[in-house]
Subunit: 149 residues, 2 copies
Amino acid sequence: MTENYPLTIGQLAKQAGVHVQTLRYYEQEGLLVPGARTAGGQRRYTKAECQRLHFIRHAREFGFSVDQIRELIDLAAEGNRSCAEIDAIARRHREDVRRRIRMLRELETELDRMVGECAGGRVTDCRVLEVLGDHDHCRTDHGHGGESS
Amino acid sequence: MTENYPLTIGQLAKQAGVHVQTLRYYEQEGLLVPGARTAGGQRRYTKAECQRLHFIRHAREFGFSVDQIRELIDLAAEGNRSCAEIDAIARRHREDVRRRIRMLRELETELDRMVGECAGGRVTDCRVLEVLGDHDHCRTDHGHGGESS
DNA sequence: CTGTTCCCTACAGTCGCTGTAGGTTCAAGC
DNA sequence: GCTTGAACCTACAGCGACTGTAGGGAACAG
């Protein structure tokens, strides 16, 4: 943080390790609107705005959606309230992460069985295709109303 | 499977538990093109086409992409070859699943610490916001070039 | 022949960016 | 002051795997 403020969009992008277009996208989504522009219309970011970007990026790395982050920012702005809602968002998100882990684990188990039993013969006898073609091969009830993503 | 063939798109969709539009999408992507249409232009699906749909759905539940599935179908069509390529696709996919599990586990750990330490006070003291605002709070080096999705 | 239900094509929207086209502004060097 | 080149601007299309909508045609029962 040896930068001198305000920063241009390119400087901020570089500092935060994101693309310039990402910053314009965050602005469009209402997450990070620079308070000032030059006479010619170019964006200039203050230190506070840079800190907000770090918050946003960090929350994204935690897997929070842009909508959730907007909500967190709005709640944070009313600093005097109980943080119960913020806690609730984080807990819901954790449940979501846990659910995804569970499904991926089941998937991994099935893929292990599938790959392990492929003897490397001809395609017509391929275990992988066989398993994919018939749900009865599966032990766990992955999917049939599942997640993806 | 007490249906009488050929099936209309709606009957097939219902049987397979997918939307009618999804079938049209699979056709557009070259995964499942019905061999016949009525004089009026409506799609009719044979039993073999229904079985292919089950293969496709099952592969999707395993997290294979539409591109990967097209590749699997193409390889399966040349039934006489070695199934090494099919095995390779499955193994690569398994690696991908494992990588995603690892990242989600790290995320879960951080969310646990975050949520666990929120005392339920005022927003200005909220542990969740604090952690999100400062990467130094994290033990694991999740992200900073991470996965998402 | 009418009515209802299903089907058709074509296109826009989802999410979180990324990439492109075509034009403008800024800062540095002369 | 003038020129150059990099960085900036807006607006829009594309990704993946669907989902939803609009406006119309086909199939079938009564």
